[in-house]
Symmetry: C2
Subunit: 200 residues, 2 copies
């Protein structure tokens, strides 16, 4: 790590990072993965393109990190003491993101890119792995408290929470409401309790 | 109904209808809703465009009817005697369709069109209503046999079966396997049994 890429919390590098990530997500939402470039992102962020190239190397890696950071800040894994409430809050957070115009546009943009490019598919697979690792703790705590069967697969439960929300956005076009988010979490929990996602 | 549009099973009109529907779905899969026209569909089907205009009126209505007929023939609502097996077979049928290259291409094509056009969104809403009416019988029989709580909403269960399958196709890119289809049906059933989709 060179002096120019050292992060100082609240310093110039941190501000640049935040500006570049915001510009990346905005560019994605407005124009789509294929249409954007490190140059266009750097211009939008008001930083030199060489800085962006040196730090992130490629557009795909920059997009992956920007989305991961955005997801991390928008969808923190809750820890309320019950798996039921944790899943409900998680579902509400995903619903709020996908239900917002910017979140919906970014999601559509990335998925359209992924359909066309193996590079973006690989980036998204890495993105999901990171997200899953962060929220698997919800499930592990639920199993430890005896709320869920032993061997419950975190990935199965997490995708069960997320799938109906993405499906409304991408397939049926029905509105993403808090009530639907709660129903989605309750359905995933009922299936998990019944052992559907248990591998032991 | 004029003489020229009367359907005779196995006759010329029935053959033309089948040819036009097949051409419509093939055009959709190959080129997408925006790029196709009644002219291009008629040419592919080997019928005169006037015949297609007179019978279906608009591209949107033709696409809606072609998709409904295709879904009807590919995904018949099963009636095996238990809601568990009915849902499993339904899930397998959706998985086989979305998991096939042609089904995946057609689905992506229609959804991309729906994202861009209110006309296609309205067409798809009508399509879903038709599909739901056809398979609601599975749930109604399950309630009548006491396998599901009174007041279980067919739409809730059906979307719970479908959502994880579309989600794999459109979001995570994981393969659509028979095992996943069975898990999806089991999860929807567990949630329905727990009363998550019950409105009474």
């Amino acid at each position: 790590m060179t002096a120019s890429t050292t992060r100082r919390p609240g310093g110039r590098t941190a501000r640049n990072t935040a500006a570049v990530f915001t510009a990346t997500v905005d560019e994605l939402a407005d124009r789509g993965f294929d249409e954007i470039s490190i140059e266009s992102i750097a211009a939008r962020a008001g930083v030199h393109k060489t800085t962006v190239y040196r730090r992130w190397g490629s557009k795909a890696e920059l997009v992956r990190q920007a989305l991961a950071a955005t997801a991390q800040s928008m969808i923190e894994a809750p820890d309320t003491g019950t798996v039921s409430e944790d899943l409900r809050l998680l579902s509400r957070a995903v619903q709020a993101t996908l239900g917002s115009p910017r979140g919906a546009a970014t999601t559509r943009s990335v998925l359209a890119g992924a359909a066309a490019s193996p590079e973006i598919r690989a980036m998204m697979a890495k993105f999901w792995d990171t997200r899953l690792a962060a929220i698997a703790a919800i499930i592990d705590r639920g199993v430890a408290r005896g709320e869920l069967p032993a061997g419950t697969e975190p990935a199965g439960v997490m995708h069960a929470v997320a799938a109906p929300l993405y499906y409304r956005l991408l397939v049926t076009g029905e509105p993403l409401t808090p009530e639907h988010a709660d129903e989605t979490a309750a359905a995933a929990l009922a299936a998990a309790r019944a052992g559907v996602f248990s591998r032991t």
